[in-house]
């Protein structure tokens, strides 16, 4: 059987919107209660809850209830939310990978278009790129490099395994879209000739 004073103190600590010290608890009682007694009761309450899903903890002489840190994962449910990397982000990532370490201005020079800060943020959030110090030029811009997580995700043992430019050309990845367009138009001309004949 828990005595009334202990129940009362437990309820006070539970309902309070901020941690309470023994003096504050004592002040809530109509009758005079020695602070030492309050402290002893608080200790008893803490001991009673030890090992349960509720903890009474002291922070600088103030006490409050909380849930144990080891159960935090149950209170914070994480859900995967997979998203396709945007075209712009893919380009920036590729540039960092091929040219690292590289500053944002250099990335923009290579891409030929402005690169929003958000794009770099996304890649850093994905932990595929990371800042790698500053370039010792005027303005000391931040430079970026790829991470081990990047190599892991893309199944690359090391950056050396990135295909070279000639490999990309051979794979058709350097075929300009324009050329393909002209070829298609050429075929169209032949068809017209056939019709004329």
């Amino acid at each position: 059987m828990i005595d009334d004073r202990e129940r009362a103190i437990e309820a006070m600590l539970f309902a309070s919107d901020e941690p309470l010290d023994a003096r504050q608890v004592a002040a809530r009682f109509a009758e005079e209660v020695p602070v030492a007694e309050i402290k002893a009761i608080i200790q008893a309450i803490a001991a009673r809850h030890a090992g349960s899903g509720i903890e009474l903890v002291e922070r600088g002489g103030h006490w409050h209830f909380q849930t144990p840190a080891d159960l935090a994962h149950l209170l914070r449910r994480e859900r995967d939310d997979p998203r396709k990397l945007s075209r712009a982000a893919s380009e920036v990532l590729a540039i960092v990978a091929y040219h690292e370490p590289v500053s944002r201005a250099e990335i923009e020079a290579i891409r030929g278009v402005q690169t929003s800060k958000g794009t770099l943020d996304v890649l850093m959030e994905a932990e595929w790129i990371a800042p790698a110090g500053r370039r010792e030029v005027p303005g000391r811009p931040l430079i970026y490099k790829t991470t081990d997580a990047f190599l892991q995700h893309f199944g690359l043992g090391s950056r050396k395994n990135l295909p070279g430019i000639e490999d990309l050309r051979a794979a058709g990845l350097l075929d300009p879209v324009d050329l393909a367009f002209e070829e298609a138009m050429g075929e169209l001309d032949l068809v017209k000739d056939g019709e004329d004949a």
Partner: protein, 261 residues
Amino acid sequence: MEELPLDFDVAPAAAEREDALQLSLDSWEGPLDLLLTLARGQKVDLRQISILQLVEQYLTFISEMRAKLEVAADYLVMAAWLAYLKSALLLPKNPLEDPSPDELALRLQLRLQRLAAMREAAARLLARDRVGRDVFLRARPEGLHDVRLRRWDASLYDLLAAYGQVKLRTEPVVHMVSRRPVITLDAALHHLERLIGIRLDWAELADFLPSDYDGPLRRSAIASSFVAALELARQGRVDLKQDGAFEPLYLRAAHMGQQGA
């Protein structure tokens, strides 16, 4: 059912306050509420209440109020109905009257009982141990959170294709125009001049072209020869003739006499 105490933590019920009756009609939630308050004044169970007495009380009260201030229409409607009920209750019973005054009185009584029941229920409800007044929750719970973890997805192919596009977009552009089989104007001029000397009569332009030209080469040859024919005509070295638009174009060597002019 036992009578429950009126115990509001809301606007005080007018029931126990006889003086309130002298004040205003704002104290009541409509005529039925006023009737119920008056009925409680009889200090008996609603089931034993004297409807006739209640009617008298209501009519007296309303007439007193009317002397002092305007009384809302619904109170007057109730008063008129109760006046009718009163006269019906007092008159000798007419067995053919339907509904009978007793039935009307019973209905009124039932309504008062129901309203009283709900009023008591409300009082008991509000007197319960209420959160934030009698019982308390944690002021600052940690809360349970659902965190959406953004996981970015891209394949190596996406990466390499993107790089390929960057390289292409920014490489110095070198246009490699593929060579097409064409007959140049010079060639056509030379060819026509040569043939004009041989052919004396009108001949179709197409006849001047080599028969083995076909496809784009033939189209090119026609175009060049046409321009060449116009040039020779300008120089006065050939005559051109066409029977109509889109008809075959004929040409022949101009008269030699004009050549020197």
